[in-house]
């Protein structure tokens, strides 16, 4: 039996690799309907309470990710409003120092780790498989697992704040303040373990995205035809893979210092507190680009569609994205200019921090050129992107001033920096994200959002944003440091702070309008066609919302803008099994068909594994024995996860010929 199988498999290895190109009649509508029914059965999305925990479908999981991330965004945004109320007038007693420190730490941590990175990756999880023309994301069970780990981590942080035991050491958790001597209790441990939660899920999603992008693109989508959004997700995922290990390692070391008495950061025993800063910012600076690079992809998508022309300078855009990814790793010390490092090093980091403005500049110039030569249609998504240009260029320029080490010594850790990074993160990432939601909402839900209300929302948010954050530049010049829960009246910071608080109210109102629009449109928006904006990327070739299998026939791509450049007969791939979850694997550079794999069915095991993993993470805040206790259940869930399905279904068989095409 073994011998027979071996000979057959060896024979196949040598014989079965031919891809046949041919011309055939268009399938009968009945055949297409039959294929649709079979694919729907094969790629079913389970429902019900247990079923919904078993889902491995990338669209469902991405939507959960996006909704969850926006819940954290709203929560952390409300925390920001609390901070603004506290700071509205001098010597305010609205929040005490203890609560204020918890609130600003949770605000930063939540925005960075539970909103910005996950929501961008979620956009990738939803859109990348559709844009590259495949049926699901690679490693779908890992995707399900990553979502639950993320959810449990986020719930943990939220609960700690509601229980008044949230971390209070800042989202950067500098030691020794966050170490065992100066923050007794468990507050800093919750922070460190939240990092572990989010990094595990972020890293898993990144591996999925890299594999999806490099190996499952539709035939014909060579690297130089990949949509810019997909390029931006590829760069982001690779940055996550290289940056996050640093913070996982360093936050684990912090946890060990606090839990079992290691001395990594204890200067009295040969440790070093600056070590933490190096490791944290080696991750922390790329983190900014991890948030911002996907937004660049959204901007390019929106500009292409709403000018009706491909983005100007595709090669320059791709090179700029890749360059940003590389240079982003060489700047971390500009967060440490005040620590007294050697002058020569500071000069290098000043220069490197200046240089990263060049790729950003190139992209801005290319977008302006695109707007110039295209015919802009001023719908809500484009408005948000234009708002992005206005805000991001400002934030980018203030970033250039921060790169200057002597200037930074004055404005470092002041409200000037607060203003700067809200310009680049809110303006640079959240504005495009909201524009992107308006743009892809019809694809995700099948309904259009209200464009008129969207425009009003844009103006409320745009004005509110500038009213909130522009005065902070001046507050920085006037010497107001960050992370203070109050300030004396004599320094004259009161009026500008009051203005900023009023702006925060406008931002909250804008957020409410956006939320209302989402809820209203989801229930009763105009029904969306497959391609309501006349976009050029593959996600617009399938119905809105897409069927569970994404593409009835996997497309063959003939140009950079797949829909704008495809020929009239719409060439497709046939010969992929529809009776199991088979997916075509193509090669990295040219997307030539190479082989096929079968994706796993829905399963409860990723959920169970996430439960055990989360219990282990939370348990290890309290005792090192969590590790030995968790090992056995963890192993069981992993074995369940990877155990082959029933022998019948997996029996080695020749790929069944596709029925509808003779």
């Amino acid at each position: 039996m073994d011998r027979e199988q071996q000979q057959r498999l060896q024979r196949e290895e040598h014989e079965r690799h031919e891809v046949i190109e041919r011309v055939e009649p268009m399938p009968e509508p009945a055949a297409a309907a039959r294929l649709h029914r079979e694919l729907e059965r094969t790629w079913y999305v389970p429902s019900g309470l247990i079923g919904s925990l078993c889902v491995v479908d990338h669209r469902t999981i991405a939507k959960r990710y996006i909704v969850t991330a926006f819940c954290f965004f709203i929560f952390a945004g409300l925390l920001a409003v609390l901070m603004r109320i506290q700071l509205a007038v001098p010597n305010n007693h609205f929040l005490g120092p203890d609560l204020y420190n918890q609130v600003f730490t949770t605000h930063g941590t939540m925005m960075m780790f539970l909103f910005a990175v996950p929501v961008m990756e979620a956009m990738g999880v939803y859109l990348v498989p559709l844009m590259v023309g495949t049926r699901n994301i690679a490693f779908p069970r890992l995707n399900a697992f990553s979502y639950f780990v993320y959810l449990f981590g986020g719930v943990m942080l939220t609960v700690t704040l509601l229980m008044n035991t949230a971390p209070d050491v800042g989202w950067f958790a500098y030691v020794p303040l966050a170490g065992p001597d100066y923050t007794p209790g468990k507050r800093a441990d919750f922070w460190a373990q939240l990092i572990t939660f989010t990094e595990v899920s972020g890293l898993a999603v990144s591996v999925e995205l890299v594999a999806t992008i490099l190996k499952t693109r539709a035939p014909g989508m060579s690297l130089n035809r990949m949509p810019l959004f997909v390029w931006s997700m590829l760069v982001t995922a690779l940055m996550v893979i290289f940056a996050m290990p640093s913070v996982v390692t360093s936050s684990s070391m912090l946890l060990l210092d606090r839990l079992v008495g290691t001395h990594f950061y204890n200067p009295a025993e040969g440790g070093d507190s600056l070590l933490w800063q190096h490791l944290f910012w080696f991750f922390g600076h790329p983190e900014v680009y991890i948030i911002f690079v996907p937004a660049l992809g959204i901007v390019s998508s929106v500009i292409a569609t709403f000018t009706g022309r491909p983005v100007f300078g595709y090669p320059a855009m791709v090179l700029a994205l890749v360059a940003t990814g590389f240079i982003g790793f060489g700047l971390w010390v500009h967060h440490m200019f005040a620590t007294g490092l050697p002058q020569l090093g500071l000069t290098y980091f000043t220069a490197a921090s200046m240089i990263i403005a060049i790729p950003s500049g190139i992209q801005i110039f290319c977008w302006i050129a695109s707007l110039w030569r295209g015919r802009p249609r001023f719908h809500t998504p484009l408005l948000f992107v234009l708002g992005f240009v206005a805000i991001f260029v400002f934030g980018g320029l203030s970033g250039v001033t921060l790169a200057s080490q002597p200037f930074d010594l004055q404005v470092h850790d002041t409200y000037y920096v607060v203003a700067h990074f809200h310009y680049v993160l809110l303006g640079g990432a959240v504005f495009p994200l909201i524009g992107g939601i308006y743009y892809w909402f019809p694809k995700m839900t099948g309904r259009m959002m209200d464009d008129g209300l969207g425009k009003i929302t844009f103006w409320v948010l745009f004005v509110g944003f500038n009213v909130t954050f522009f005065p902070m530049h001046i507050l920085g010049f006037e010497g107001m440091p960050r992370r203070v829960y109050t300030y004396p009246a004599e320094l004259g910071w009161g009026p500008l702070n009051l203005v900023a608080t009023i702006g925060a109210g406008m931002l909250a109102l804008g957020g409410l309008l956006f939320l209302y629009n989402v809820v209203k449109s989801h229930a009763a928006g105009a029904v969306a066609s497959a391609n309501p904006w006349n976009g050029g990327t593959l996600e617009w070739s399938v119905p809105s919302p897409p069927p569970v299998y994404n593409f009835l026939y996997q497309p063959v791509v003939e140009g950079r803008d797949a829909l704008w450049e495809r020929s009239a007969d719409v060439p497709v791939v046939v010969g992929i099994r529809s009776d199991c979850r088979e997916v075509l694997i193509t090669d990295v550079m040219d997307a030539e068909p190479s082989n096929k794999v079968e994706y796993p069915e829905p399963s409860i095991w990723p959920f169970l594994c996430a439960v055990v993993t989360s219990a282990f993470f939370i348990g290890s805040i309290f005792t090192p024995w969590a590790l030995p206790v968790a090992i056995i259940p963890l192993a069981i869930t992993l074995i369940g996860w990877f155990w082959p399905k029933s022998p019948r279904a997996e029996a080695p068989g020749v790929a069944a010929p596709v029925k509808e095409a003779a």
Binding site: F264, V573, A651, P652
Partner: protein, 206 residues
């Protein structure tokens, strides 16, 4: 755009003859394995950087502690290096779809892995430091434990694959899993060389 009724024929790319899995970088599994190898490798790199960073902070190394004893560590290095042979044999057998041979070598690999884990337990007794002695002790324990977790994980993985190979029908793609298991083992072996040198020899040389 495709207007129904006007176009009656279309070009298709028939991929039904393509294999339903592939070894190495042609296949999808390889990319997942390598993705996690890169992530875990980055963590090792960070830990090694921390080691040398902490080294620069003090005069003597190890600070106020004896050097680790090299006996068990070196023995483990030999075991781990030798285990490359069964790993390579099971990999090539898997890629030739030779199930009996792949199973045999996977069995040897698992046994050697268990041996490595056992030796590792003795290694902890020969470090001559505790994790809470000072920063040197902390980083030594971190490095060796990070590696131990990887060895333990892959030995478990091999054992599970072994059970699977004896009890389950082996579809084509299961041979890919066998092959990637050896790849991951190479990764663990490759990292043990620098970590061994750092743990046992760096205190003597630096």
């Amino acid at each position: 755009m495709n207007v129904p009724g006007q176009i009656e024929r279309r070009r298709v790319l028939d991929v039904s003859a393509l294999p339903d899995s592939a070894f190495g970088y042609n296949g999808l599994v390889w990319w997942g394995t390598v993705g996690f190898m890169v992530i875990e490798g980055s963590m090792f790199v960070i830990a090694i950087i921390v080691y040398f960073y902490l080294r620069l902070r003090v005069e003597n190394w190890p600070p106020g502690l004896p050097n680790p004893d090299i006996g068990y560590g070196t023995a483990n290095l030999l075991v781990v290096l030798l285990s490359v042979i069964p790993a390579a044999m099971s990999k090539s057998a898997a890629e030739a779809f030779d199930l009996p041979k792949a199973r045999r070598w996977l069995f040897v690999l698992t046994l050697m892995g268990v041996g490595a884990v056992t030796l590792r337990a003795y290694e902890y007794t020969a470090l001559n430091c505790r994790w809470d002695d000072n920063a040197y002790g902390s980083i030594v324990w971190l490095l060796i434990s990070m590696h131990t977790i990887h060895v333990g994980t892959d030995v478990t993985d091999s054992a599970v694959l072994l059970v699977m190979a004896y009890t389950q029908p082996m579809a084509r793609k299961r041979f890919v899993d066998l092959s990637e298991n050896s790849l991951y083992w190479y990764f663990i072996v490759a990292w043990w060389i620098p970590i061994y040198l750092i743990i046992y020899w760096a205190p003597r040389w630096l």
